[in-house]
Amino acid sequence: MKKGIFQEFEGYSKIVEEIEASRRYGIDYSVDKDSPEQYINLLHPPRLELRVSDIIQETPSAKTLRLVSTNQYLPPFQAGQYIGLFLEIGKIRTTRPYSISSAPNQTGYYDITVRRVEGGLVSNYLLDDVESGHILQSSGPAGNFYFNPLFHKKTMVCLAGGSGITPFMSMIREVVECGLDRNIYLFYGNKDLDDIIFHETLKAISERSENIHYLPVIENPAEGYQGHSGLITGSLIRETLDHLEDKTFYLCGPQEMYEFCIPELEKLGIPKRKIRKEAYGPPARISDYPGWPQEIKAEDLFTIKVDGHKTLKGSAGEPLMVTLEQAGIVVPSLCRSGECSICRVKILSGKVFQPPGTLVRKSDNQFGYVHSCVSYPLEDLEVLI
């Protein structure tokens, strides 16, 4: 112990006694050295090793991959959350988020449901190359798209587009299987009838469950189709629901759906706080995005200098992260939609376009940090990873 005047302070000797007693009866930190991490790993493992136990053909273009844990443990999740798959396809190391479509009470496996994206690197790989028994690596469950009992309403109005059905499938299964005191209206938009994932399952559930209402909406139905057609409009929602006040609205689907449906909800007077939307990947055609500088074309090429790596060429229409991944430079990523901030990098020089609404911290903006998953080069760049 150091020497000093404090040794003459009143109460000093009592504290010295206290220290001696604490050393005798205190915590031996060296014995349970790994316990905090071990516990946290049960909730938030940095990595999961999953085996494809089953593949279920849902529609001509969609399959469900049933994933079991190779160590027999799957962390709990909240219905609506996703896992990020860590993949190596050809020479490219990348990640993709997939909402879990099975219910949280199903602790034996996670289902993810994948629909083919034309020219999609990952969806084509998962649909064509992955077979039962295949081992996949993933993140633990993540994401903020779930029912929050602290302020969400008991009646959920879910607007799904295409493969955006997956988080709702998990929510509906949980509500039904666990007998939760909640009502769900599901408006499910698809191009045509063949595209609907889980159509039969949803029909069956809604027929036998009073609190689940299933409303498929077909954009281009065949002639004579009896159901709802066109888009999910405000008037369809208003006609279907008695009251709008006691409900929370959830959206999951492509950017175009948000651009159409959110104004429809706002026109109905639904306040922002009752509208929840899931991240759904980068916009399909960024150069059509509101605010995109007209003088730049998607195919314009820029030089990207990465600190400590080689210099690359990247096109304006491609997210910076994709350009990096294709060059073998790995930036950690998770949501790939501009929300989770895992892929944050610093732009040392040059300008990028980030779609308005990207969740970037104010001071990250000030100091030049961007989310590389939704950053598009508008000039030659220098990047610090």
């Binding site: 112990m1 150091k2 000093g4 005047i5 404090f6 003459e8 302070f9 009143e10 109460g11 000093y12 009592k14 504290i15 010295v16 206290e18 220290i19 001696e20 604490s22 050393r23 205190g26 915590i27 031996d28 930190y29 060296s30 050295k33 316990s35 905090p36 516990y39 946290i40 049960l42 909730l43 938030h44 962390p75 709990p76 909240q78 602790t107 903020n144 929050n148 009992p149 602290l150 302020f151 306040p271 922002k272 706080r273 950690p332 929300e339 901030s341 895992i342 892929c343 944050r344 969740l359 970037v360 911290r361 104010k362 001071s363 990250d364 000030q366 100091f367 940090y369 610090l384 990873i385």
Partner: protein, 499 residues
């Protein structure tokens, strides 16, 4: 692999100022951070249109440009002041009880005294005496330790000798009889983690003194702005930072640091390491057991872990005034109990009648949240152990149950809050454990017991040559202290001869 003069493990407050301070003096520094964002506790996260502040409630030690406090001077020396914008808060705190009791203390000493005297006229003189005591104690403490008086003595600094180790409760009981007044005057314990029965008067006095003399401050952009500003300075001074890369091992040979092995497996030669990580993980996980002196483990065994916290981050779709929130810092006090029973409350999983603090940054800084909205950060201190007994499959249910109880407590004071919630996120002691890597999610490191204070503990020093510590674990907690701890550690290396 390239060597460095110093490897700093962790980009929390202490790690950031240590790195920035060393790089500024021309040292070749590698900063390792296992997350992708600098700051540790000093960070923020986005949900919907809100950016939530994680840890900073009231920044102490800033002072004004005219009367700069120690922290302002330090940030100025590091060259980050111009990148940041500070806003003075005009209240120390507001106390609200469900029975309708409300009291705001402004930030000047005279106002604090007169507001208390108006509310507690029967204790008028004692209130005056209490603040005289706070000031006299603080001045004696600063003269002896901050200005390092070589002739300090009991005769010169009688209050320092009599009060430094005295529990706050003794002073409160000597001076006051009204239990409500005692609770209101000592309510800052809710920021320190120990009830007045255990907290020394010294901590309470110094906290009042610095907040009244140098005022509480808010930082535009929140604590992340400070973390980003420090990293920016560090990089422009030639420092190297690796995000998403923690340290796996500190190599020790013949009792001295020789280098660090990163999580990626890189071997980095270095003769100095500053651990912003806790002593616990540094000695137990990063250094091979044969290199850790028994005396160090014995010493650590005597130290108590601080509480963690249960925190709710709420974004509202209306302005603070519409909810009835008038002050930046509101203590929600369910009762006037300041006894050891508060330790039991913190040891309990569920939330009921504990002391809470609600910070609404938009009161001082209307630009903090988007126009027409505001946010609140609501905290109550909780020990981590009960959360380790929650089965993982029950975790979300328990988290919501506690969140619901906390929200009800807020509704007791601000009845309309639930109608306006747009975003809400909950952090439990396990969340803190996950992001900070601290045992039991202890947010302050070791407890603020006098036995765990710098007088009695090794602070930044280690018996292992070249190893220093810089964090809340080395002594006092809070932003000012941890930022200062980093520079102290840096100075220990800078001032070393023959380097």
């Amino acid at each position: 692999m390239e060597g460095y003069d110093v490897v700093v493990i962790g980009a929390g407050n202490g790690g950031l100022t240590a790195s920035a301070g060393l790089a500024q003096k021309g040292f070749n520094v590698l900063l390792l951070e296992r997350h992708n964002v600098p700051g540790g506790c000093a960070t923020s996260f986005c949900r919907g249109r809100f950016e939530f502040e994680v840890a900073l409630h009231q920044l102490s030690g800033m002072g004004t440009p005219e009367k700069p406090g120690p922290l302002r001077m330090m940030l100025d020396n590091l060259g980050v002041l111009d990148d940041l914008e500070f806003v003075e808060m005009d209240d120390l705190y507001h106390v609200a009880m469900p029975d309708g009791f409300r009291l705001t203390l402004k930030t000047s000493k005279d106002q604090v005294i007169s507001e208390l005297q108006e509310m507690f006229p029967h204790e008028k003189e004692s209130i005056e005496r209490f603040f005289d005591l706070v000031y006299s104690y603080a001045n004696q403490m600063l003269a002896a330790f901050y200005f390092k008086d070589p002739d300090a003595s009991r005769e010169k600094y009688p209050l320092l000798y009599s009060h430094a180790f005295k529990p706050a409760i003794d002073v409160l009981d000597e001076l006051f009889s009204d239990p409500l007044l005692k609770a209101v005057v000592s309510v800052y314990w809710g920021f320190l983690g120990l009830p007045p029965t255990r907290l020394s008067f010294a901590y309470l006095a110094m906290l009042f003194f610095v907040f009244i003399e140098f005022k509480p401050f808010h930082l535009k952009g929140g604590s992340q702005a400070l973390s980003n500003g420090l990293i920016n300075r560090f990089l422009s001074s030639g420092g190297t930072v690796r995000f998403n890369c923690g340290a796996k091992k500190i190599i020790v040979e013949d009792g001295a640091v020789k280098g660090v092995i990163t999580e990626d497996g890189d071997h980095i030669p270095a003769n100095h390491v500053i651990a912003n990580a806790s002593q616990v993980s540094t000695y137990v996980q990063l250094i091979d057991p044969e290199n850790v002196p028994n005396e160090t483990l014995r010493e650590m065994r005597g130290r108590t872990l601080s509480p963690s916290a249960f925190v709710m981050f709420v974004g509202f779709d209306c302005e603070a005034s519409q909810l009835g929130i008038t002050d930046s810092t509101t203590f929600l006090m369910a009762n006037t109990d300041i006894t050891d029973r508060n330790l039991n409350r913190m040891q309990r999983l569920d939330i009921d009648d504990e002391l809470m603090v609600l910070s609404c940054y938009d009161v001082a800084d209307p630009d903090f949240s988007p126009p027409g909205t505001c946010q609140a950060n609501i905290v109550t201190l909780k020990y981590g152990d009960p959360w380790l007994r929650v089965p993982p499959s029950d975790y979300h249910r328990v988290k919501y149950r506690c969140g619901e109880a906390m929200l009800r407590r807020v509704e007791d004071i601000f009845p309309d809050v639930r109608k306006h919630i747009e975003e809400l996120e909950v952090a439990t002691p396990l969340t803190h454990m996950r992001y900070l890597g601290h045992p039991n999610g202890a947010i302050y490191g070791f407890e603020q017991y006098t036995k765990d204070s710098l007088f009695f503990q090794p602070g930044r020093f280690s018996p292992i040559g070249g190893l220093y510590f810089a964090s809340g674990w080395t002594g006092d907690c809070g932003f000012q202290s941890t930022l200062e701890a980093g520079l102290s550690a840096a100075n220990s290396i800078i001032k070393k001869p023959n380097l």
